[in-house]
Assembly symmetry: C2
């Protein structure tokens, strides 16, 4: 099966939704930032909860998942694909950008640019999933902008499960943060990239541990700014005056964490649809 | 697509392998118990690492995954399916037992029987994934054997990620165990079912917390005994005299945890194959 044609021609139907996807619910931090910044846009969000998490899986599997979920968004007429998942951004965005005709925006480039902007001492820390760290995507992107900057990355596989358990402000979570981040602080970073869309939900605990001297770079906010700029420069922004909506589709109905995220983000989500993944035959 | 015919007729080809599957690597605790108890049997193990974990997903998705992975094992000639995953045992085994012609053995029934055997005060605790706890499968199975026994279940979603991080004997893990198990101890259980195939790897930390007065029931060991009995009663045991082997197939190549498990279990695993899942069309 080929990827479906995108439903919206680039020039017309500017009421077409922005397609956003993540391995699960974490990407709602990006959706929330988009809702705040672009209130007139419709957003169609797919969380691949049937296969969550992506963070420990291989590049080839994550790339295939990215193509499958993008295909579902395009079939619904998405005018742009926002990959609201650091792991999929690191591993699937380059190929999606080559193969799709709509713009594809990930969270890595905006986050890397913001980190380069923020650092004063030229040493940036990155926390992310194992797959994102192994991909080296943040290093590559930061060095493309400024090869002098030192990048130290730390995989933090337990942070997502802790957030999904709802233990955002908890002694256990603080202990785990200390374990993962202690080494980065000793190395002397002055900027920390939250390289997973779940992590902004831990902002308070992370900030308390690293202290005020270290800038936290949140990919959700920076990604939304990039989307805004891209829509404007291509003349693709919504031309309507009605406020937009957020529709959420999950590939598996089980979403204990959806309530946690909605509450933490103050998000208005209507009916949540469930649709199994449409697999691509190779 | 229909499920493939099983490759081995029940009466013949007793050199056919026992098919074992889990959402990931945890089921190797069952494979290790089978290797010890049935050294002449060949074991074909599939870990569905492309979609791991199952524990937070819905019944319908887990049931479909169970049918897909069983189909892969049958296509390789498995004479029996062992569901070495509590979540899939709770949610997929009943339908697999109805639809497949080979015997299907899960870990819930053997674990429940062992718990009924072990309890003295008639109060059994169960720790498991969220999906297993929500299924009520252990309660149902224990009450089928003895309706008088009280069952208290606790979902422990963080234990698998902690084990996969290799933090088996760690202050963080001890703190999490205390949080999850404190309530069960206060309720007065005298038996604790380790209702997830990962948990035997935490046996030491769990035992240290609950103390010697509480019997730990390990589904891996009890499941292997049930497989042994079933093979003998059906005349399906391996008739060869060569020692059997363990072959491992993963649906995603990323398996950081495979090394941890192999070492902890002292397992001899040859070449690990990677094959994508064969999806069933409905």
């Amino acid at each position: 099966m080929e990827l479906p044609e995108q439903g919206a021609a680039l020039g017309g139907a500017m009421r077409a939704p922005i397609g956003v996807f993540d391995s699960g619910i974490g990407g709602l931090t990006v959706a929330a930032a988009l809702r705040r910044m672009l209130p007139l846009e419709d957003i169609l969000y797919i969380g691949d909860t049937a296969r969550v998490p992506y963070g420990g899986k291989s590049a080839s599997t994550i790339e295939r998942y990215g193509r499958e979920i993008s295909g579902m968004l395009l079939a619904e007429g998405a005018k742009m694909i926002v990959v609201a998942c650091n792991t999929a951004s690191a591993l699937a965005v380059p190929r999606l950008q080559q193969s799709l005709e709509v713009p594809v925006i990930g969270v890595i480039q905006p986050g890397a640019a913001a980190a380069v902007e923020a650092t004063r001492n030229g040493h940036v820390g990155v926390i992310a999933t194992r797959a994102t760290v192994q991909s080296g995507a943040y290093e590559r992107e930061i060095h493309r902008l400024n090869p002098e900057i030192r990048v130290s990355a730390q995989a933090c596989p337990l942070l997502v499960p802790l957030i999904e358990e709802g233990w955002m402000n908890d002694p256990v979570t603080r202990l785990v943060i200390e374990r993962y981040l202690g080494g980065l602080l000793e190395l002397g970073i002055d900027t920390l990239v939250l390289g997973c869309t779940h992590y902004p939900l831990l902002r308070e605990s992370l900030g308390a541990f690293v202290g005020e001297g270290i800038a936290l770079v949140d990919s959700a906010q920076n990604c939304a700014m990039r989307v805004d700029a891209e829509l404007k420069s291509r003349g693709m922004a919504s031309s309507g005056s009605d406020s937009g909506s957020l529709r959420v589709t999950l590939t598996d109905p089980s979403a204990a964490f959806l309530d946690v995220a909605q509450e933490a983000l103050g998000l208005e989500v209507g009916e949540v649809r469930v649709r199994p993944v449409q697999m691509l035959s190779e």
